[in-house]
């Protein structure tokens, strides 16, 4: 019964994407038909137009609108690229094929649309996201996959050739890549009652080996550094669809702290997008205070680390929970950082046996 409803949602989403793209095409087409140079408006992505929304608990774009006008010869090329990107995305989505940013860059050449470099084509895709208010994954353009999920979650594929086939994500101990197929899959069911996202692939593997998913009844996700947007969206879905609490486990330094923050509150770069954040997710460690409490092996903070800490101190996303400011201050005080693996000084299983239970209890 639930599965039917979800199917409809997925189907709706897909037709919404296709019709948005088609609408864009009609807008341009009609302007040409009426004898005008076509133009497209979109929210500005300049820094002064990126604001933090405390209610949504993420960055959003402000009121400022920019016009992409094909009449202005410096914009004509970019405008054409944008229309091409829409056409290409429509083709991908309607044929249910996927592509990567790199692939887009090369595919353009088949249409005699040459991009100067990868950056130019990436920017055009971001423009398209902004115009439509959809993320590129919605129109089947994916980054290179590197993050993975493991645990008792059953999904049903919707990709061509696999429609309706189900998979339990405990079936492969290296985890299953969070790629296009998994991103577009429907969630059938899970017995887990929490999600643990882990910054590093090595530790993710350790957790699988140590049966953390069983011991803590958790779904494990390897973010492999900064979590890709597909992964952030995946985490959000687990949180929303199954009401699972999300715990994020990173290195004990400003960079790790920010990996957690992006999963929670999103990034400024994705201010034009929604549904990539999980505002209720918790950063469970490694905290600066953990470094002190567990007497972890450390490295001294470097100049860049301090600079970053000062930036984060002022960042509106770090004003939401007093935990952030407290930990930033502690980092600044102890002038040290520690990696997730640092717990191994107490033996390979210490982190699972001692640290995790303590922290899960603490962050609840």
């Amino acid at each position: 019964m639930g599965s039917n409803k979800k199917e409809r949602i997925v189907g709706n989403k897909k037709s919404k994407v296709l019709s948005s793209l088609k609408n864009l095409g009609s807008r341009v087409y009609n302007q040409l038909e009426n004898g005008f140079f076509p133009s497209i408006t979109m929210p500005s992505r300049s820094t002064e137009n990126i604001n933090y929304d405390p209610d949504l608990r993420q960055y959003i774009l402000g009121e400022k609108i920019v016009l992409r006008n094909s009449r202005i010869f410096t914009q004509t090329r970019g405008f054409t690229q944008l229309v091409w990107a829409a056409t290409f995305s429509h083709e991908l989505a309607s044929q249910r094929k996927t592509s990567t940013l790199r692939d887009v860059y090369y595919s353009a050449q088949a249409y005699e649309m040459v991009f100067k470099d990868q950056q130019e084509s990436n920017n055009i895709i971001t423009d398209l996201e902004t115009v439509l208010g959809l993320s590129r994954e919605d129109f089947n353009i994916f980054p290179e996959e590197r993050s993975a999920v493991f645990g008792d979650l059953t999904i049903a594929y919707t990709v061509p050739g696999y429609e309706g086939r189900t998979l339990n994500l405990t079936s492969h101990p290296d985890g299953v890549l969070i790629g296009p197929a998994l991103t577009s899959a429907e969630f059938v069911g899970t017995t887990a009652d929490k999600v643990i996202a882990i910054e590093k692939g090595g530790l993710f593997t350790r957790f699988v080996e140590e049966n953390v998913h069983k011991k803590f009844n958790a779904l494990l996700i390897s973010t492999a550094g900064q979590a890709p947007r597909a992964t952030r969206h995946f985490i959000r879905r687990l949180n929303r669809e199954f009401n699972l609490p999300v715990y994020i486990f990173t290195d004990g330094d400003p960079w790790g702290m920010h990996i957690a923050m992006v999963i929670i509150s999103g990034s400024a770069n994705a201010a034009h997008l929604r549904e990539l954040t999980t505002p209720d997710a918790k950063w469970m460690g490694v905290w600066a205070s953990d470094i002190v409490d567990y007497k972890l092996p450390t490295y001294p903070l470097k100049e860049v680390d301090f600079t970053r800490l000062h930036e984060l101190q002022r960042d509106p996303r770090y004003q939401t929970d007093p935990l952030w400011q407290k930990e930033i201050k502690t980092f600044l005080k102890i002038r040290k950082k520690a990696e997730q693996e640092a717990f191994s000084r107490y033996g390979l299983t210490y982190i699972v046996d001692e640290y995790l239970p303590a922290k899960l209890g603490e962050t609840k």
Partner: protein, 506 residues
């Protein structure tokens, strides 16, 4: 000092001994200077009777010599006025020959160029010169001549008269000389090219010793008005000239002498001047002592009430002809020419004509190509010493959005009854303040026009570039949006393209 030298040796002897100063420095220069002097005489001969010049020059091997210097036979034919038979021996065999000392703009200034060339030929080969000429009468006169250098007199070796069946008019000069053509070749060819540029109404033909034909065909049939002869202006005379004027004048008193032998001196001005310099109007000029002569010359320069010389004695090329010549030889993308109002220096009237040409066959170098002309002759040596070169190099070209690496040719033509050459070799113009100022003002004017052209061209290029963007991408936008909107018919974008096509773009 020059005066004393003239008293001691003959004029031809003097120039024989000092041939370097007339441009016959070495075998290379000798070939160049010889061709140049004779071509210029021919052009003058045609222009005085308002005939479009046809000049044929042939240089051939006369005798095989060593590598450095060979004996050549030079033949120069023209369709000019021709020379009366009684004048032919002196005109070609006597240096500084001339009956009356009037001034007009001429190519040769010293009246010795052609003779110097023949003299040089005689010195180096000991062979006579052959001169054939007719003024268009029933007879053609041919002379075989040599020059008595010590006495400055022509020696007639042979004289023939033939009937002029074809009513031919002109002069043919043929003689041998030693020289180095191989080295002179680049300058000789450049000389012809530049001569063609500044004499666009002339046909020039040159056959070199290897039999190669270089032809410069006229690009117009209009000619500038020939210069009028005029008396020297008081500000411009020196003791030497005064002496010569006194020698030839038929007037027996100072008042008449001044009135008739000087430019822009009338009865009243002459009287005022004589009062100013304490000379009796009745004094016979031929009786002036040397000291009086010197003081007269100084007073002529000091007296402030002489009217400035007028420019009727000048024959500038004119903007249209200069334009035609440059278009013909450089085929530039852009050309601006301008003629300045007459001006004077030291009693000599002069006119500056300039041109700036851009693009076309003008090469891109690290410097501008500079073409210097004086009285319609190209100046090919000592560029860096020339006043034009200095003016051009001291100008702030960046003000005109011009850089030295652009394909730009600058033409400066000075016309004067007395071109302020620095040397007898007529290679470069002296840095006279009046001349420098005129050239500088003139160049600023044409440079501004070049700037307008360049900025307009930049504007057109920008429009072209814009248009090429539209023409490239608009059809794609139409195609993609048609596909994306799921339509059949591609929108017509011709109107849109037409609306952005600006005037001036193709």
């Amino acid at each position: 000092m020059a005066q004393q030298t003239f008293q001691e040796i003959s004029a031809s002897d003097f120039f024989y001994r000092n041939r370097d100063i007339a441009g016959f420095t070495n075998p290379t220069r000798a070939i160049f200077a010889t061709i140049r002097e004779l071509v210029e005489n021919s052009l003058d001969a045609a222009e005085t009777i308002k005939v479009l010049p046809d000049v044929y020059v042939r240089l051939s091997f006369a005798k095989v010599g060593n590598q450095e210097s060979q004996v050549f036979k030079l033949r120069v034919e023209d369709n000019g006025a021709g020379i009366l038979p009684k004048h032919i021996p002196s005109a070609f065999g006597q240096v500084l020959y001339g009956s009356k000392y009037t001034l007009k703009q001429q190519r040769g200034t010293f009246g010795l160029g052609g003779k110097m060339a023949i003299l040089y030929g005689q010195i180096t080969t000991h062979q006579p010169a052959h001169v054939t000429s007719s003024t268009g009468t029933a007879k053609i006169y041919s002379f075989k001549l040599m020059m008595d250098i010590q006495k400055n007199r022509p020696i007639i070796l042979d004289r023939r008269v033939s009937t002029n069946k074809g009513q031919w008019r002109g002069t043919i000069v043929e003689f041998c000389l030693e020289g180095d053509y191989l080295r002179a070749k680049p300058k000789v060819l450049e000389y012809f090219k530049q001569t063609a540029m500044v004499n666009p109404y002339a046909n020039l033909t040159f056959v070199d010793p290897k039999g190669r034909l270089y032809k410069f065909t006229r690009g117009t049939t209009s000619m500038p008005d020939p210069p009028k002869e005029t008396e020297p202006h008081p500000y411009g005379v020196d003791v030497e000239l005064l002496q010569r004027l006194i020698q030839v004048t038929p007037y027996k008193n100072m008042l008449e002498f001044l009135k008739n032998e000087f430019h822009r001196v009338g009865e009243i001005t002459a009287q005022k001047f004589l009062a100013f310099s304490n000379l009796s109007p009745r004094k016979n000029p031929k009786r002036l002592s040397h000291a009086e002569l010197v003081s007269l010359m100084q007073n002529l320069k000091k007296f402030e009430k002489f009217l400035p010389p007028d420019s009727s004695c000048l024959s500038p090329l004119g903007e249209d002809l200069l334009k035609a010549g440059i278009l013909k030889e450089l085929k530039p993308e852009f050309l601006v020419v301008h003629q300045r109002k007459p001006s004077t220096y030291a009693g000599h009237p002069f006119i500056i004509e300039t041109a700036i040409a851009y693009g076309g066959e003008i090469p891109k170098k690290n410097n501008f190509v500079i073409y210097r002309f004086a009285n319609k002759i190209p100046l090919l040596y000592d560029e860096a010493s020339d006043v034009s070169y200095r003016v051009i190099n001291s100008m702030n070209w960046s003000r005109y959005k011009v850089t030295q690496d652009m394909p730009i040719a600058i033409v400066v033509h000075i016309c004067s009854t007395k071109v302020p050459y620095k040397t007898v070799g007529k290679e470069f113009i002296a840095d006279r303040p009046e001349v420098r100022r005129e050239i500088a003002n003139e160049l600023r004017g044409v440079a501004r026009k070049l700037q307008h052209f360049l900025s307009r061209r930049a504007h057109v290029n920008k429009e072209k570039k814009k248009f090429s963007v539209f023409i490239k991408y608009l059809p794609k936008i139409a195609q993609f949006s048609t596909d994306l909107a799921g339509k059949e018919k591609i929108p017509d974008i011709e109107k849109l393209l037409k609306s952005v096509r600006k005037f001036g773009i193709e």
